[in-house]
């Protein structure tokens, strides 16, 4: 393999480390405020969260339906159809940002700014808030309090997301990303043809799109579009923004539980899984040398790295079309999503998703050392195990059952553009992306039809709450347990052995669940290509 991508990967991880460690320090201060008077137990927290989401979805749905009648609509777009508005509202509220519409053609500036951009902040903040609640649970000594949802949302938005977004947006504007209320500009291209250059308040949305691991682009082409991602520098910034909070949360966690090694262990587990995925993708793309669907400005390596990052985290922004990756290459982003978006993952959701796997790993490892399994002094009983099971079960079930239904529905199979096993990959990718709240699209699937809008909307909704609610329940249960002190008989959860075991559990659960489906899609496709032997 070329040494350049490896160098890029190492450089990227080093830069990330330089940013994430101070970020963790800052985040930790927000997690543990001086005042705890307004805190409540997990049920109160969950209730606030559900109300918050219900209001958010209804408001966004109404806005998208009525955008044609509202101001700030220079392009004169009309309201979205009911199923598309349903899908889009859920998509942005659940931090998925699956886009069954084309941004420049069908969303007004008002809806972009008041609807989508606001949800970009709020949905990211919700994930972080849930992660906060879970982290706090480990420090409580039995009172069951995990925080105040609205305070958390306010603090996360005002003290983390907004300041960083402003700085990032200014940097993007500097590199040439438009920030304007003007309608599209009509110009004459180099070859003499008329061309419509779309504009809009892009930079402000671009920054939070990355920072909040939302991924919903202003334009249809997302970060492959020169107005969203003009230069290699903006590309690097975008990649760093995606991992900033997920990586920062691991370090913040170590500080919150007063054992920095625990945070480092989580970061390392994620970094190992991420590096394996990136190296594999470099390898497959290096062998296949496919340029169709990739931006020549970014080339093979930056496209591959971006694809790995955006699907490791539940961002879903793309700077190249994943459908155009080689068959094995396309399996990497797919599998990264199917692992449950825990390799750094979404803002907050990556953290609590990984903790679910940690609990699973601790459960098995704990039994193997002859102790009732415990993590950071909190015993894992039947109740926690039940919640872990629900949270880990829900996304695979949504993906597999959703895909199985789709292949039986003509409306769904008719939307598949490519022949052979690649077509199944497209459907599998769509459901994996939706249920895991990633939102990236494989391309090649005309997803704007009532079947996909509704099915994927449901997947996004249940994929989000099917994890968040059990996580909050676990947090509540941990918070009402005393923390057992450590001894030589306690399973160490920071050593290399446990990190390795955790990585294996994540891979094993994902692989065992999806291997048969993958065998029928990317694997069958790859093995039918003449050059597949080179792929191995």
């Amino acid at each position: 393999m070329d040494s350049r991508p490896i160098f890029e990967l190492v450089l990227y991880l080093l830069l990330l480390l330089c940013l994430a460690i101070p970020a963790g320090l800052w985040i930790q201060k927000i997690i543990t405020p001086r005042k705890e008077t307004s805190w409540g137990d997990w049920k109160i927290y969950a209730k606030s969260l559900i109300i918050f989401h219900a209001v958010g979805v209804l408001f966004l749905y109404a806005l998208l339906r009525l955008q044609g009648l509202l101001p700030l609509n220079p392009q004169g777009v009309t309201g979205l159809s009911p199923d598309l508005a349903f899908n889009t509202a859920i998509s942005f509220v659940t931090n998925t940002n699956w886009q069954a519409y084309s941004g420049e053609a069908s969303i007004s500036y008002l809806a972009q700014m008041v609807g989508l951009a606001v949800q970009n902040f709020l949905s990211a903040a919700v994930g972080i808030a849930v992660a906060f609640a879970l982290m706090r649970a480990f420090t409580r000594q039995g009172d069951g309090l995990i925080g105040n949802f609205y305070e958390d949302i306010r603090n996360v938005v005002l003290r983390i997301l907004l300041p960083v977004s402003v700085i990032a947006a200014l940097a993007l504007i500097y590199w040439g990303v438009p920030q304007s209320f003007s309608p599209a500009v009509s110009v004459q291209g180099i070859q003499g043809q008329a061309q419509l250059l779309p504009l809009g308040p892009v930079a402000s949305q671009e920054a939070i799109k990355m920072l909040g691991t939302n991924g919903g682009g202003f334009f249809n082409a997302n970060s492959a579009h020169p107005f969203e991602n003009p230069t290699p520098a903006s590309n690097l910034l975008q990649m760093l923004l995606i991992f900033l909070i997920p990586a920062g949360l691991t370090f913040a966690f170590g500080r919150v539980v007063k054992d920095k090694r625990q945070g480092i262990a989580l970061f390392l587990s994620m970094a190992i899984l991420f590096s394996i995925a990136a190296l594999l993708l470099f390898h497959f793309e290096g062998v296949a040398q496919i340029w169709e669907g990739k931006e020549t400005r970014f080339g093979l390596w930056d496209s591959s790295l971006f694809a790995t990052i955006t699907t490791s985290a539940s961002c879903g922004a793309v700077n190249a079309m994943h459908s155009s990756l080689s068959a094995f290459g396309g399996m990497i982003p797919l599998l990264l999503m199917q692992l449950g978006e825990v390799v750094f993952g979404g803002t907050g959701s990556g953290f609590y998703g990984m903790i679910l796997f940690v609990l699973l790993a601790v459960f098995l490892a704990g039994l193997m050392v002859g102790r009732t399994p415990e993590y950071l002094g909190k015993k894992i009983g039947p109740y926690e195990m039940k919640m872990v099971a629900v949270a880990i079960l829900v996304t695979p079930l949504l993906v597999l059952i959703g895909t199985a239904i789709a292949v039986c529905v003509p409306l769904a199979t008719g939307a598949v553009l490519n022949p052979g096993p690649h077509g199944l990959t497209e459907i599998l990718y769509a459901f994996s992306s939706a249920a895991n709240n990633n939102g990236s699209a494989f391309a090649g699937l005309s997803a704007n039809n009532p079947f996909y809008n509704i099915a994927l909307g449901l997947c996004m909704w249940f994929g989000r709450f099917g994890v968040i609610l059990p996580v909050l329940a676990i947090a509540g249960s941990f918070a009402s347990k005393k923390r057992a002190p450590e001894s030589a008989g306690t399973l160490p959860t920071h050593g290399p052995l446990f990190i390795l075991f955790l990585c294996l559990i994540v891979i094993l659960v994902g692989a065992l669940t999806y291997f048969p489906a993958l065998a029928l899609s990317p694997i069958a496709e790859a093995l039918s290509e003449s050059h597949f032997m080179g792929g191995f």
Partner: protein
């Protein structure tokens, strides 16, 4: 009476045959339903059998389907067999115990004295609080408490110990157990348990598995296994539409046979651990019984594995049971003879071994000693609260009235000060000197004047230091509990190598210490035998009562050691840990197995749709049918192969958690990954050689 461990080879034919019959009975779906993993296999077996029968009726069948059905049924049968075998062993152990009791007749009496006016009733008719007379040669009909008399009793039926023990009313040796035999004298016992609630009944219930409730860890593991089953159920169920769709898109008409998918499902769901789970639990109780400990719940056994603080009584556990009086040290102006005489009188009511050793020492020095006007003297018995014993002698023509006391130095000091007497300055220094030798000083007082000290020698058991080191490696902190003064306690604690000690411990202090440790999140284990231990035993997470102890202690504890050996706690911790380790290791093994099964079954299942997937057939299995059967056969055989491990438990060494984890991941994780690749290949080669498929 101790049996060498018998695993498998040691099982007699009868046990195996009974287990086999029971396993067939367990095929009843109503019973199978209780184990969701095996129930899925059961449904799969039924499905394949129906298909096989249809195939033969239409005479289009091959050997494949009948063979597949056969091995799927075998999987279910093996799982039932494992459970039945573990139950059978327990029942055999229980039956021996039960035999001692059958047909016992009891002499029911009304008064607390020896009389011939008893009525003969069956042991089953006895109820709580009934009084029963037992005489030499009688079998004690049920658990009880001696309320009158003294007797020697042969408890070998329960404890295996052939040396007779003395049981008497009052004190800490009053509990008698049903099934034991009176050798001499008589006792009136008060029945403490209704039929079906005695220790023997509970023990039988536990080992037979009848009363076995799932422990929290077992429940948590079952949840994990059920969710794995659900995932794989969906994985295989969705595979049918997915593969059909794939076939249509490339214009192939072939579909995946449903029997293949059933085989895949059975191979993927965690049948290995699902089949052995209850066997492991029952065998754990059995192992405990082999160690001659009865637990009243499985929960207690598991908690033992989690214990990280061990409260051990010094006496009998760390030091040899009894301390012996070895010397008298009189204060200035007191004769040794006078000190010995007063010590004698003050110790008459002290029934502890120490008290008796003082009497023995005095008798050796003053063989002619006797007590005047014994009937007028008022004995002050030893109590753990006052930590004193003594005697009040009334005024008589020969003597002044006297208050004689003997007890721990600090207790006597307080007592003397309350009497308004001064304490001789030599007392402290002499006591300190005795304590610094690791011996225990007892002070003796007459009417508030301190006469002197008695030195009690204490000997630390050999090898105990090494055990404490082991415990420390396992992350368990040992705290020595003693009524001794701090200096004595420190000397012995240092010699024995415990982590901490509690000196001058009263029952209240013990209870407070347990609460304090639990408040810090520790799980505490302790042993005890006296009635005054009962509150602390009830508070501790794991409480091992001595069979020789009082009924109150046994009721308060959640385990009873039939050998009355407090160091047994260490063995119980090991058994508890082994129980969890066996479950965890076999679960890891079971899940790691799945990788190879994908590589065996998927290329075979999809061969008609995507022939290129043959690349995944890394084992180069000879044919699709053979590949699938090999995986199923391996899956069934591994259950039976692991039964001895499930019954014996994975090996445990006193090592840190990190070391244990490394070893078990290598052995059961990596082993579980590699073994089936080899196993399936070998079975496939056998099929290929036979040529059936």
């Amino acid at each position: 009476m101790r049996h060498p461990r018998k695993i498998f080879g040691g099982f007699d034919r009868k046990l195996m045959r009974e287990a086999a019959i029971l396993s067939l009975k367990k095929l009843n779906p109503q019973r199978q339903w209780r184990n969701p993993v095996m129930f899925v296999v059961w449904i799969g077996s039924l499905f394949c059998t129906v298909q096989a029968v249809q195939g033969w009726i239409q005479s289009s069948g091959t050997y494949f389907l009948p063979f597949l059905s056969l091995w799927l049924w075998a999987t279910v049968f093996f799982a039932n067999f494992a459970e039945s075998l573990a139950e059978g062993r327990g029942q055999a152990q229980a039956a021996a115990l039960r035999a001692t009791r059958s047909g016992t007749r009891a002499k029911k009496v009304e008064a607390l004295e020896y009389s011939k006016k008893w009525t003969l009733v069956n042991a089953e008719q006895l109820r709580k609080d009934d009084l029963v007379l037992v005489e030499a040669g009688d079998v004690i009909p049920t658990d009880g408490e001696a309320v009158a008399g003294v007797a020697t009793i042969d408890e070998s039926a329960i404890t295996g110990e052939s040396a007779p023990v003395i049981r008497e009313s009052g004190g800490d040796r009053s509990a008698v157990t049903g099934g034991t035999r009176v050798l001499s004298d008589w006792l009136v016992i008060q029945v403490v348990a209704n039929p079906g609630e005695t220790f023997l009944d509970r023990m039988i219930g536990m080992v037979e598995g009848a009363n076995r409730k799932k422990t929290p860890n077992e429940v948590a593991l079952s949840i994990l296994l059920s969710s794995l089953t659900i995932i794989f159920l969906v994985v295989t169920a969705t595979l049918f539409p997915l593969s059909t769709f794939s076939a249509e898109r490339i214009g192939v008409t072939s579909t995946v046979p449903i029997a293949f998918l059933v085989a895949l499902l059975v191979c993927l769901i965690p049948t290995t651990i699902g089949a052995l789970l209850s066997c492991i639990g029952i065998a754990g109780m059995g192992r405990l019984l082999e160690a001659r400990v009865i637990a009243t719940s499985g929960r207690a056994v598991e908690a033992a594995g989690d214990v990280d603080v061990l409260l051990l009584d010094k006496t009998g556990t760390i030091t040899y049971g009894n301390r012996f009086a070895s010397n008298f040290i009189p204060m200035p102006g007191v004769t040794r003879k006078h000190l010995a005489e007063v010590s004698f009188k003050a110790s008459l009511a002290d029934d502890t071994p120490e008290g008796r050793s003082i009497l023995a020492l005095v008798r050796k020095e003053l063989p002619t000693i006797f007590l005047r006007n014994e009937h007028l003297c008022k004995s002050i018995p030893f109590s753990a609260n006052t930590r004193m014993s003594g005697m009040d002698v009334p005024q008589s023509e020969m003597e002044e009235s006297m208050q004689l006391r003997k007890g721990s130095v600090s207790a006597i000091k307080v007592w003397c000060e309350n009497q308004g007497a001064s304490i001789p300055p030599e007392l402290e220094s002499e006591a300190a000197q005795i304590a610094s030798k690791g011996s225990t000083p007892l002070a003796v007082s007459e009417n508030g004047d301190v006469l002197g000290l008695i030195e009690l020698k204490d000997v630390v058991k050999e090898g105990i230091q090494k055990r404490f080191q082991e415990l420390r490696r396992m992350g368990i902190r040992t705290i020595m509990i003693t009524g001794d003064n701090p200096r004595t306690a420190a000397a012995i604690a240092a010699e024995a190598g415990v982590d901490d000690y509690m000196a001058e411990a009263t029952p209240e202090a013990k209870l407070a210490r347990i609460r304090e440790e639990q408040g810090k999140g520790h799980l505490v284990a302790m042993t005890g035998d006296g009635t005054n231990d009962a509150p602390a035993l009830a508070q501790a997470d794991v409480a091992l009562a001595m069979n020789s102890g009082t009924q109150a202690a046994k009721e308060a504890g959640n385990m009873v050691d039939l050998d009355s050996d407090p160091t047994k706690l260490i063995e119980i911790v090991t058994i508890g840990k082994q129980l969890l380790m066996t479950r965890g290791s076999l679960t890891t093994f079971s899940v790691a197995n799945d990788v190879s099964k994908y590589f065996a079954i998927l290329p075979a299942a999809f061969v008609g749709i995507f022939p290129q997937l043959q690349v995944l057939n890394v084992m180069r299995l000879s044919s699709p049918e053979s590949a699938i059967l090999s995986a199923v056969v391996f899956n069934a055989l591994i259950i039976i192969a692991l039964v001895p491990l499930a019954i014996r438990g994975v090996s445990f060494r006193a090592e840190s958690a990190a070391t244990l984890l490394r070893r078990n991941i290598l052995l059961y994780g990596v082993g579980g990954f590699v073994t089936p690749f080899l196993g399936i290949k070998i079975i496939d080669m056998a099929f290929a050689a036979w040529g059936g498929f």
